[in-house]
Symmetry: C2
Subunit: 441 residues, 2 copies
């Protein structure tokens, strides 16, 4: 099994439409057919309509002709949204989530809903890794990452509460982006943990993500969460990038480390200033903090369901709710109160003490785990989720098992656009496109 299709990027679609070489409906219909065709092996979609969805016809709309796949924790008024939960079979939201409405208003067409792990926590869905069906695509945004990696759609929506965008993007060899906390309103998105939940984007190219971010960034009164860092006191530009002596999530595989080293060396040759840094000690505590916050908040969101119909909930989810219920208030309150000051200290450390434009870190331990049961370790993403700073995965190369290895770039709060500009520069230096061409040959 391998890639099925090679959907054009958003940039390519826009160029073709501007030149009059294509119609929006054609792209949507191609993507829909590719999605249907992929289902027998990839299982990226949990819902596809029976016929291709109607397409917005104004070819000058910003996302005209752009087919989008939407993670099934994000509400769509015209398609079911079931959270990969037995308890929500047949659930049909009354309205689009805020971010879906924004995409549609910009001319995009939702072609289907993608597989999520149950409630965006651990219990996996049927999606496989597009590069090798014996491996996980990662989670929880499994189907969205796989659908973009398989070339079915140029754009997909995901969510990240620990590492659910950055990690599957790395495992699938695509670009995944999680903006600053609060940047994309979450109205109509199933909460897992409101202190940590982010809406994220998947695409094959960084430029596509940057383009879409401008269209969907925005706050909604119904989702009043704003960033932990109010002040923007940072401008990127000189490409000063920190590399870590010790990853926030723990030990990584030699191939992951080697790939990061090779990339850093290349960036240095091309003019970036590469600086070895030690993360502030307290950052190493954040993965545990993020898990505790999440357990408590998930226990509130899903506790009643677990109580009422435990047989409809996976052991993984039941375990999370149990854990959250056991925690004392003081533990939660301490972490919750520490979150904002830690984000502010990290901001000061990154932008003032170290004057870095970004950190170049591992998005995961390395290649995806074999099998579908375990979607991988989120500890390499959780710190940046907890601190609410923007992060982006850029694919680098194939590892020893022939599965992708990604790089994660982490930037300053409120500067997602600056981080993406840097990521686009990095992307041009990874050799990933060549590796893909070679792999296909």
């Amino acid at each position: 099994m391998t890639l099925f299709n090679q959907a054009p990027t958003i940039g390519e679609i826009r160029a073709a439409l501007a030149a009059g070489d294509a119609t929006p409906a054609q792209y949507v219909s191609d993507a829909y057919e590719a999605a249907r065709h992929s289902q027998a092996t990839l299982h990226a979609f949990c819902y596809l309509p029976d016929t291709p969805p109607d397409t917005f016809v104004d070819a000058t709309a910003p996302l005209a002709g752009v087919p989008v796949a939407v993670k099934d924790v994000i509400d769509t008024a015209d398609m079911p949204t079931e959270f990969n939960s037995a308890a929500y079979k047949g659930r049909r939201p009354e309205r689009d989530a805020w971010v879906v409405a924004r995409l549609r208003a910009a001319g995009a067409t939702v072609i289907g809903k993608t597989v999520t792990t149950e409630f965006a926590w651990r219990h996996p869905g049927p999606t496989v890794n597009p590069w090798n069906g014996a491996f996980t695509p990662g989670g929880s945004s499994s189907g969205s990452a796989a659908a973009v990696a398989a070339g079915i759609v140029p754009l997909a929506l995901g969510t990240q509460t620990q590492g659910s965008v950055i990690r599957p993007a790395a495992y699938c060899g695509i670009v995944g982006f999680k903006p600053t906390y609060g940047t994309i309103a979450r109205t109509g998105v199933l909460p897992l943990a409101w202190s940590l939940d982010h809406v994220g984007l998947f695409a094959r190219r960084v430029a596509d993500v940057a383009y879409v971010l401008k269209l969907v960034a925005g706050v909604d009164v119904a989702d009043p969460h704003a960033s932990h860092v109010a002040a923007v006191a940072h401008s990127a530009g000189k490409r000063r990038i920190g590399v870590l002596s010790k990853q926030a999530g723990g030990a990584i595989e030699p191939a992951q480390q080697a790939a990061l080293d090779v990339l850093a060396a290349q960036l240095a040759r091309d003019g970036a200033e590469i600086v070895a840094v030690d993360l502030p000690e307290e950052v190493f505590a954040t993965p545990a903090y993020a898990l505790q916050l999440m357990a408590v908040e998930a226990a509130i969101t899903h506790g009643e369901l677990v109580e009422r119909t435990p047989e409809l909930v996976s052991p993984a989810m039941r375990g999370l709710v149990d854990e959250g219920r056991k925690l004392p208030a003081t533990t939660y309150a301490r972490i919750k109160a520490a979150q904002m000051p830690m984000a502010q200290r990290f901001h000061a450390w990154l932008t003032q003490t170290m004057t870095l434009d970004a950190l170049l870190v591992a998005p995961a331990t390395g290649e995806p785990p074999r099998g579908l049961d375990y979607t991988g370790d989120a500890s390499f993403c959780a710190p940046w989720t907890f601190l609410g700073v923007p992060a982006v995965t850029v694919p680098m190369r194939f590892g020893p098992s022939g599965l992708p290895l990604g790089a994660q770039l982490v930037g300053a709060a409120q500067n997602g656009a600056g981080l993406l500009a840097l990521a686009e520069w990095v992307e041009a230096r990874t050799g990933w496109e060549d590796a893909v061409t070679q792999r296909r040959a």
Copy 2:
């Protein structure tokens, strides 16, 4: 026992200094002497220096000649700050609290530290009510309220986590003001519960509070808490005031109700639009929520001390910490997550649904309780603390026991100045000054 002194208001001090009729040092020295003299009976101060403090000499500074009393949970670099706790005897902060520094920078002179209940919770200090020594002055800002009411100082600093400014102001017959949550930075102020703590002001006249608020309002990076309501979509002006069929805190004494009714009738005669309103049902739940948030956060702030040296902590405080430790995280997280949306709904209800400039509500059940053990019920203030909206006490008249009855005006978030403008108009119509003159005669 009765009032000792009659310190000029800030407005009077400024007028006299402008006319060259007095010197700043004179006012400070008078206040200091009055404070010393009052100690034998009033016990408002827990610390007074041996000699009058040096006075800032620029008579044109905004608070030149203004002697200030500071609640002993607020740090002062030149005086001890002991929280009325046996565990902190002799504690001497290294620097002034942010708000103290602001006052000093404006030319004010701190003449001493005032009695607080232990850690600003319930265990009372020795301060008595200036109108009758057999009654409580209220708490936790007992000494600050008493010092202003006794005419020792024209201005005092307090804090409010439940009802610690509004209630003692009512019991002592003075103006007490709690601004919008986050308006006055709390750096250097002992936390009781960071989700609820406010710095507040005491004065004899509303105009003095409004004047000082402009000088001390401000955020500090070290205290990043901002209001729960981001948008300011409200302008006062037409004096549309809501009165309640049912107080948020429960039943009140007939004399308190009668005083509110008489005031409302007077305001209506003078052109205010008085509207009977029912509070949104969820507001009645806020006093219980505020207590639970406080218990958990107090357990974090003071838990270690209670564990280490329980014999140095009052049973009241030990009980609070115990209660906070017993609460599950889900209870706290649920309340904490509800706080901001509730504040936003209250804002919409007040300003859009009811189009009110303020609510006129009871600040307490009525006159202060007899004795010093119990500082009174904070449930009539806790809703506005929990919702983070500005509130001000205006004294009305003496009750059946000859103790003051106050009115509480509650306004829209971020519009403390507007609320104070309305309160100044109300203040001129209470008949309080006449009642005081009569009482003295």
